[in-house]
Amino acid sequence: MKAMRGMTRARWLWAAVAGFLALAAALPALAEEAPVPGGPKRVLVLHSFGEHFQPFADVATAFRSELALQSPDEIELLDIALGVVRFEEGEADKPLVDYVYSLRTQRPVDLIVTVGSPAFRFCMRHRDRLVADVPLVVAGIDCRHLQGVELGQNITAVCVNIDLHGLVDDILQLLPGTANVSVVLGSSPLETYWAGESRGAWQGYTDRIAFTWFNGLTLPQMRERVASLPPHSAIVFALLDVDAVGVPYERNAALHALHDSATAPIFGLFAPELGNGTVGGRLVDVRGAGVESARVAVRILGGESPGAIPPVIVPALPPAFDGRELRRWKIDEARLPPGSSIRFVEPTLWQAYRGRIIAVGALFAAAGSLIVMLLISRARLRSTRAQLGANEQRVRELRRELSLADRVTLLGQFTTSLAHELGQPLGAILRNAEAAELFLEREPPDLEEVRAILADVRKDGERAGGVIDRLRAMLKRHGVESQMLDWSGVVDDVVGIARGNASARGIALEIDTPSDLPPVRGDRVHFQQVLLNLVANAIDAVESAPGGDPRVLVRTRANGNGLVECAVSDTGPGIAPDKLESIFEPFVTTREQGMGMGLPISRTIVETHGGSLWAESNPGRGATFRFTIPVSEPRERHA
């Protein structure tokens, strides 16, 4: 199966290489192709990062759909992502320029559009080769980037004005007590530019607000920071497309991650972020920027000269806010700037407007009631959807618990039948021995009876031995099916089962598993049984010895000798030194209901897997049961 998959992959690779070679051979033939009159207009779109980085992705999307809508001609779009400029500008340009240039030459284009300032600057650096004879529309850019650039006859621009002052003014308007502002910025050249720009712009606020810039941090570090902000803090989510270690974040991934951990409201700059975790404000009309760019493009494709079209400045949108965020951060709606709209209002909030809706309904009775009905059904639909989501989640959880319960039941049945098979001969031996004592005490002793007893005892001893042999054989048979195991998964499963039980008795159940633990080898179900048995014993032990700090700890370490060692420690009464070994013998138990079978079975299982299981007394109080599991060989890991 695996071999087959490998072969398929190799074949696919060869097909790709062959295809590439064929394409390379065909390119010169295309070189002479001229624009066909009446054919589609070709537009080359140069993206600054990938095609999915915000806010540029939304500019491009709006551009495409508006262009398709407005253009009288068919449009053929060629997209090129200049991904490399997110790392550094200039040095890696050459192959990219060659690529864009050759593409442009092979398939003559009618218009080039750059999305974002890095792509714009890239074109400007190689103006002679790339845009000397083709019109260029500069889109998705802040007007600041156009300062001091001579656009000439071939270039026009559609730009936005990011209002850095307005952003801080809005924050202070909504939350007048704000004393700390953390600025989330990535580490690409563009993001570094904005760090400098905002430092300058906010100079005048530094007597009221302490600013902290996050460029130079990784996203996880930023998450940690925003999780523990002092009171009177706000977060400005400026731009995070590439973090300090070069990890790119597409769409709203970084914003969502920060929103989950943030202990202060997040203010963004761009309209698409609203609804994804930012509070809102006077946001950049990203869609509008795309739409305007498309309109300009249509004009140029229609024959107008770019030089005759003055740069378009797309104004900011009227103030808009996310109702959920306002509620979450207890921002008074009265403080919102005039003309503000509140979006994403949840049903509980629309109930606040019910009075207004009913008033409208009194004037337009029929229409009004229809609106109310629609609103109610929408609210119902929404809550039903939310419930459905919650139910599905619960069903998934239950299903997971059930599959665990199934396994545990199986283990239980296995133990039960084993206990029964051993119980018969051992019970008979015990009863016979007691009878023999009584027969020997008689005057005269009944030796005939004692002899018969001894014969039976011997037979039963052999029977019990046979049961143990069968158990060994069975475990060995299972051992063949042993698989590579993620030990932390085994621990999590078992602790998941036992946690309810432990917390119901007021016992803390803790896990300590290092993240770099090597995989081990064995039968998952068997190890779950061993661990569950030890954890259950530990919980019982802790409960039987009331006192401070009732705790059970499952701690795993790689011991360096090709073994992983797992220790279950408790704060129970501990084990007497002379009992440390005997508890592993069958039918030795310290518990009222104990069968005394758990530990011997566990030891047999561990030993079958090539490990060992033993007990220790803790220095303070309680006991620790340790067992070892062989690490999976690296050779096997790649198999």
């Binding site: 018969q424 051992l426 031996i429 009863r431 016979n432 009878a435 009584l438 009876e449 039976d456 209901q593």
Partner: protein, 208 residues
Amino acid sequence: MPEGTAIVHVVDDDASFLRAVGRLLRASGFTVKQYGSAAEFLAQREDGEPGCVLADLRMPGMNGLDLQAALASGPDPLPVVFLSAHGDVPSTVRAMKQGAEDFLVKQAPHGELLAAVRRALERDARERAQRARRHDLQERLALLTPREREVLTLVVQGKLNKQIAGELGIHERTVKLHRTAITTKLEVRSVAQLTRLVQDARPFPKGQ
């Protein structure tokens, strides 16, 4: 020892354990009979014999719980002590609910096993005596005429002669005559004794 003529019936499909426990009980002074299955025991036992049953819970065919149910619904029940190779909770609960005398694992300490058997035999003797007394009382109650039964029922309810007369539509003096007949037939002297007798004789004989 109360075991005298009482018999401990040991039922177990495991021949070795059956022999072992039989030996131990005999050596401890009990009279023991051994059976390899529940069916074998039910076929061989004689009604009216005092004793108790020591039965394995898990047996092929009729298991211990089935045997207990069969005994309890018959005319001459015996207390059952269950033995199991291991304690499993649902069966234990069911056995105890059905009125098992005791429930022991096969490796239970010697003393516990003997004590359980002794308790079962004592319970059998006690219940046997109760059954005998009830039988005797019911025979005596059977001597009453239908009218005397009616009067008896009302007397036991604590009604006065006048009320009884009113309820049955007879003369108060007739009620007195019925009462004399009842106390003579049942050999009691007071209303208190009469009430106790009726309680002990429950279920009240049919024919009312």
